[in-house]
Symmetry: C2
Subunit: 412 residues, 2 copies
C-alpha cells in the first residue's frame, strides 16, 4: 500500500481532544488505503516546561542529559495517539526514536539524521499495522544515547521518514492553513499560495516565515519529497493547504511569490578600514568564530585606500559582534576608525523563482520603495531573492506597497 | 569501589528543590568512596497524570502503549538528577531502562525483571563515572518494547540493581523515616524499628503497610540484599531508618515485631454448603477464576453433612465474589442456602519471627482482645503471623491494646 507521512505539531496535539481530532484526520487517510506514518510533537507547552527545568537545574547543561529529558514529551503524545487510533479500530503502535531506530549524529541538541532503516516499520505494516506513530524530534546516536534535532525538529523527522519510505506525500499539519504571499497580520491582501517551490520556501523559512524548519525544506528538496503544509483545525480536502514542490510543478508564471520581513536584523558599519586583500577575512573570520550569523555584506567604494564595510546580523548578536571585532582590533589584526550599530532597521525581501527568467524585478522593487519615500540602506541579492534594509518604522508600509506592486493578491 | 544503590520515591523528587536535596544525599555517599546507582521515580503526581490520560484516551488500553506513556516520567527525573550531580562536579549520567538494559518479561504493566547485565554501567564506572542515575519502574522486553513493573515498581528496580551489582546496601529514601511497630496515626506509642527481618517485612507489606512494594522485599530476601528504609526529609546518619535484613541479623529477641491492620477486608459466609470432598475446590476455583484475592478461610464444624464456609477478601471484590459463586450455583456445581457478606470488619495482625520459637503469642492476643470486649470473627495463622477479623469500629482499640500487650513501645 502507498505510504503517507503526516506530522502534527504541538498545538495540534495540545489536549486529548485535539489528539482525537488529529487522529480522525489520520483515519481519513487510512480509509483511503494509505499506510500512514504519523510524526508527533510534544503537547504544546510540554517541551518548554522541560527545557526550563533543565536550564534551572544546570545553566550550562550537558546536552546529552538535555536530550534525555526534553525528548520525553514526544513519547507521551506518540503513545496517546496510538491508543486513540486503536480506539477507532485502526491497528497502530507507537515508536520512539531508538526503536525505529532513527540514527543520528552525536551532536546533541542539534543532531542530524543519518539513516532511518525501514525494516522494522515495513515488517509491522506487512503484519497488518496501518499506522506507525513515531515520536518526532528525537533519535539515537551510535553510542546508544538519545539525541534531539533542535527546535522544530519534528518537521525534519517527518521529511526524513517520507524520504526513507518513499512516501507519496508528507503532510505537515500546523496552526496555519498554508504558506502566504506575506504575513496576513501586516498586509490584509495576503493570499495563501496553492504551490510554492522548494527554493522559495527555503528563502522564506530562513527569512523568518517560521512555518517549517529550514532543515526540513532542504531535505525535502534534496529527496524530492512532496511537502504539504495545512491546518489541523479545518476540514481538509485533498487540495487544501500549500504544496511545497519542485519548481517545474509550480505552474504559475510569477516573478515574485512572496514578501518576507524580519524585524530582528541590525546593521553594523566598520568605518574606515584599510582596503587591502584579506580584509574581508580579517573581519568575518572573528565574527564566524564568535558564532555571529552575518547575513548581508556590502563594501563601499574605496577612497584613499580606506573603505567602509557594512553587514547585517540578528539584533541579539550585536554585542557579540562588537566584542569580537574590538578584540581583533586589540590584537592588531584589524584596523578601523569606528564601529556603528544601527538596531533600528528591518529587512524586507522579495522572493520568487520567476526572477531567474524575468528581468526588472529589482528595478520595480527600488522604484516602489522610492515612490513611498522609503530610503534603502543596504541591498543584497541572490538568484531568487532581493533583500533590503530599511528604517524599521517603514517596515509595514514597505511590505504592503511591494505586495501591491507585484500584484500578489492575484496569486493563490 | 564498593557500590551503593539509593532509591528516591516520587515525593523525594517532586520539585527541582527536592531533587537538589536528594542529590546532596547522593553526594555524601560519593564522598565516602561509593560508586552509586541511583534509582528514581517520577516527580510525584506525574505518573498519575499520565495514567489518567491513558485511561481517558482508551479505557481498555493496550498495555504496551500504557507502558510507553507512563514510563516517561522517570526519564525526566533521571536526566534532571544527572544534571544536578554534574552541577555538584560529580561525574554522572542518566540511564533509561532500555539503555542499561533492564531486561524484563513482556507482561506489560506488570513485567518482571529477568536480567540486568552489568557491563554497561561497570564500564562507565571504570571510566570515572561516580553515579549512574537509572529511571526506575521500567525495562525493555525481548521484542524491544518498553515495559513497566507495576505501581511501586521502582523499589523492585532498586533491589534488582543491588542484587545484580552485589551492592553493599540498598537505601530506599521515602517520606517516612522507617518501619514502625504499627501505624503512628493510630497508636501514638508506635516505635520505629531499627531492624526487621525480611519475612516480617513481607507480611507487613502485604498486610497494607505500604512502605515497600512486596515484590521488592521478596527479591531482597532471595538475593540477601541489605535493604534500608529511611526518610529523604531528614538529616541522616549511617544508622538512620530501618534495616530490612536476614533473620539472624535481627538481634532482639521479641515474639511480635509489629501490629498491622487493614480496613478494606470483607468477611463472606456461604451458609449450609454440602460438606463433601472437593467442596473447597468447588468454592475457591470459581473465585480464583474471577481474580478474587481470598485471604483467610475457615470452615465450621459439619452438622448433618452440611457446613458453613467463611472467607475474607478485599471489600471492592465482594460483588465479583458474589457473582462468581452465584454463577457456580446456577451451573449446579455448588449448592448453598445463603451467601452473607459483612463489609463492616477490619483485619488485625500480629507479625513476628519470634513466634516460631515462643509459644503463647496467640493466647495472649486472644486474651487481650477479650479483655477489651472485642469479639473475634475469624482467625487465621501462619508461622510468623496471627490475623483476626473484628468489627471495624474496634480496629483502633484492637491495634492499641495489642501494641500495649506485646510491649512494642519498648522496641526501636
Amino acid at each position: 500500500m502507498p505510504i503517507l507521512v503526516m506530522k502534527f505539531g504541538g498545538t495540534s496535539v495540545a489536549t486529548l481532544d485535539r489528539i482525537r481530532r488529529a487522529t480522525k484526520r489520520v483515519g481519513v487517510e487510512v480509509a483511503k488505503g494509505y499506510d500512514v506514518i504519523v510524526i508527533v510533537s510534544a503537547m504544546s507547552g510540554k517541551t518548554n516546561e522541560l527545557v526550563n527545568w533543565v536550564g534551572e537545574t544546570s545553566p550550562l547543561y550537558d546536552a546529552r542529559e538535555y536530550d534525555a529529558v526534553v525528548s520525553s514529551g514526544e513519547n507521551v503524545t506518540a503513545g496517546l495517539m496510538a491508543l486513540t487510533l486503536q480506539e477507532m479500530d485502526v491497528p497502530a503502535r507507537s515508536w520512539q526514536g531508538w526503536q525505529v531506530p532513527v540514527q543520528t549524529t552525536a551532536a546533541h541538541a542539534s543532531a542530524r539524521i543519518e539513516a532511518i532503516p525501514t525494516d522494522n516499520l515495513l515488517g509491522k505494516f506487512d503484519e497488518g499495522m496501518r499506522v506507525a506513530v513515531v515520536a518526532g524530534f528525537q533519535g539515537v546516536s551510535s553510542e546508544g544515547r538519545i539525541t534531539t534535532l533542535g527546535r522544530g525538529g519534528s518537521d525534519t523527522t517527518a521529511v526524513a521518514f517520507a524520504a526513507a519510505f518513499n512516501a507519496e506525500r508528507c503532510d505537515i499539519y500546523t496552526d496555519v492553513d498554508g504558506i502566504y504571499t506575506t504575513d496576513p497580520r501586516i498586509a490584509d491582501k495576503a493570499r495563501k499560495l496553492d504551490r510554492i517551490a522548494f527554493e522559495e520556501m527555503l528563502e522564506l523559512a530562513s527569512l523568518g516565515a517560521k512555518v517549517l524548519q529550514t532543515r526540513s525544506v532542504e531535505l525535502a528538496m534534496r529527496y524530492k519529497v512532496r511537502l504539504r503544509v495545512l491546518s489541523s483545525f479545518e476540514e481538509q480536502s485533498d487540495e487544501a493547504g500549500t504544496l511545497v514542490c519542485d519548481e517545474e510543478d509550480v505552474m504559475e508564471n510569477r516573478p515574485v511569490s512572496g514578501i518576507a520581513y524580519s524585524r530582528d536584523e541590525a546593521k553594523m558599519t566598520l568605518v574606515s578600514v584599510a582596503d587591502r586583500p584579506g580584509i574581508a577575512a580579517a573581519i568575518f573570520g572573528p565574527l564566524a568564530e564568535a558564532s555571529v550569523n552575518v547575513d548581508m555584506i556590502i563594501q563601499n567604494i574605496a577612497d584613499d585606500g580606506r573603505t567602509d564595510m557594512t553587514f547585517s546580523c540578528p539584533t541579539d548578536q550585536v554585542l557579540r559582534a562588537e566584542t569580537a571585532l574590538n578584540a581583533a582590533k586589540d590584537r592588531g589584526e584589524l584596523n578601523f576608525r569606528g564601529l556603528v550599530a544601527d538596531t533600528d532597521v528591518a529587512k524586507i525581501s522579495a522572493v520568487g523563482i520567476g526572477m531567474r527568467s524575468q528581468s526588472g524585478v529589482a528595478a520595480k522593487m527600488f522604484e516602489t520603495l522610492s515612490n513611498e519615500g522609503i530610503n534603502i540602506k543596504v541591498i543584497a541579492t541572490s538568484e531568487i531573492k532581493i533583500s533590503v534594509l530599511v528604517d524599521r518604522k517603514y517596515m509595514e508600509l514597505a511590505v504592503q506597497s511591494l505586495h501591491d506592486a507585484f500584484e500578489l493578491e492575484k496569486l493563490g
